[in-house]
Subunit: 139 residues, 2 copies
DNA sequence: CGCTAGTCTGTAATCGTTCTTATTTAAGAG
DNA sequence: CTCTTAAATAAGAACGATTACAGACTAGCG
């Protein structure tokens, strides 16, 4: 209930906060993405969802928007496969199960796994931007 | 020094051990891959290396061979980017730094990071096939 | 309203990878 | 050594996800 926990209930406020012009397309996509549920969605899936909701938006714009949101910290990109990446609306610290067969991605709470010894810098002193843990499941 | 630590010094023995016919192409690629150094190599890079070494082999065969070796446990596939995957000749337990800018992959010794709480099964009881940890570095 | 930088569209291009089909080859039998 | 056959390879077409491009559109401002 603190302002930090749920800072921007409205899509337009989220966009303003990260200095992205609230255009029709970005607003519509933001509303689809940030509806309160955590999502793991691909660009194609979001494009499909937009069309299904009668929002005319090109696939190129979906890609642009997803990358802009990711850069702004509203989304986190998760690469599971050569040639498949998902965008996660939950940007808090957590990890993932990945079901190789179905391609499904499932959250693994961040405090379930304790990691020690993870470096904050690379061997040559550069900053670690993030640590991805993917638990791969056969079935 | 135990037989297990360095079981197959010769490429041909490695192939026999995993029931892959030692064809000219597979032998040549195995020699390039398992020369004693740990490598993180992409299919294109290996193809280039083969051509440079005057080994005529098609890209399709390089892909087939890499996947067969991976399935046989001689290699480990590491996906870092949508549309880029590397094959690691070091199949022992360890993790990786990934330099986003250069695309370089660097080993992170397995016992540097201690992880606790990593599940052996998925929430619905399926076996975890492996856990990938990628420490992403900006520069 | 009119201007301008930023954004969007539709399509073509690109990239890494996989598929397909004809050809070649390893390896065992005779 | 030759024959036979299943397995492996070559070459390029096909593929799917993503990116690039050039022109049209629009938000925000005066």
């Amino acid at each position: 209930m603190t302002p930090v926990a749920r800072p921007f209930s409205h899509a337009i406020d989220r966009l303003r906060a990260v200095w992205l012009r609230p255009t029709r397309q970005r607003l519509a996509l933001a509303k689809l993405l940030f509806d309160g549920c955590d999502r793991h969605i691909s660009a194609e899936q979001l494009h499909g969802a937009a069309l299904a909701a009668n929002i005319r938006v090109s696939l190129a714009t979906v890609y642009n928007t997803l990358h802009q949101f990711t850069e702004a910290g509203l989304l986190r990109e998760i690469v599971v496969d050569a040639g498949r990446s998902y965008f996660d609306t939950n940007v808090s610290l957590h990890h993932h199960y990945f079901y190789e067969k179905s391609g499904q991605l499932v959250d693994l709470s961040g405090d379930m796994i304790h990691m020690e010894g993870i470096p904050l810098h690379s061997p040559d002193g550069r900053r670690v931007s993030r640590v991805d843990v993917i638990v791969r499941v056969d079935g």
